[in-house]
């Protein structure tokens, strides 16, 4: 599975969320509501869409299961973020 398209918008505020947007897998499956986040150490990572459940915990709605796909997505999304 390949990431064919990444769309990002810069977040207006200066907190841990730097950008938000969507990506497409194989030109066929869209995932909206991903975020580029910054840790306290300054490392960037991709946050997947999540929902608060009835216990108040946040659970990811959709996420990659294979390590190779996770790496592929984060590389492509962070590349796109550098271009912003």
């Amino acid at each position: 599975m390949q990431v064919t398209e990444v769309r990002l918008t810069k977040a207006p505020s200066e907190d841990s969320c730097l950008a938000y947007g969507s990506f497409t897998l194989d030109g066929d499956f869209v995932v909206c509501g991903i975020r580029v986040l910054k840790t306290k150490d300054g490392n960037l990572f991709v946050g997947y869409p999540s929902k608060q459940n009835s216990r108040g915990e946040y659970k990811d709605v959709c996420f990659p299961m294979a390590r190779s796909l996770r790496e592929d997505i984060s590389v492509r999304v962070l590349e796109e973020y550098e271009k912003l």
Binding site: C62, A66, L69
Partner: protein, 119 residues
């Protein structure tokens, strides 16, 4: 892209949502919070995870673009839903028939010891 896994939990409610579950694409990408719904005419369809925006409108989080992938995902989920409903009905029927035989056996066995005691 193929659906490699479907998991569903049937709900015991009278609302339009009949089951909630998840599916995986190619064993590499998981999507949770997929709902099997039933419309007024009794037709089943699949609702993809969505979130409410600040202006009150709803936006899908993860969804297919092409008709082919949409058909294969909804087909796989609804097949699994129908299988599970069938299994549940079979289990309920078995339980009901077991209870019947049990009550019959009890009613048949009950008078015997009473007779024995009285004698």
């Amino acid at each position: 892209m193929q659906v490699s896994e479907v998991r569903l939990n049937l709900l015991k409610t009278d609302t339009a949502v009949k089951a909630i579950g998840s599916f995986a694409l190619d064993g590499a990408f998981a999507v949770r919070g997929v709902r099997v719904m039933e419309d007024k005419n009794g037709h089943n369809f699949v609702a993809f995870p969505s979130r409410e925006k600040q202006d009150g409108s709803y936006e899908d989080i993860a969804f297919p673009l092409s008709k082919e992938l949409y058909a294969s995902i909804t087909g796989a989920i609804i097949d699994e839903y129908k299988q599970q409903v069938e299994k549940q009905e079979q289990a309920q029927n078995q339980e009901a028939s077991q209870e019947q035989t049990q009550t019959e056996a009890e009613s048949a066995a009950a008078p015997a010891p009473k007779k024995g005691k009285s004698r």
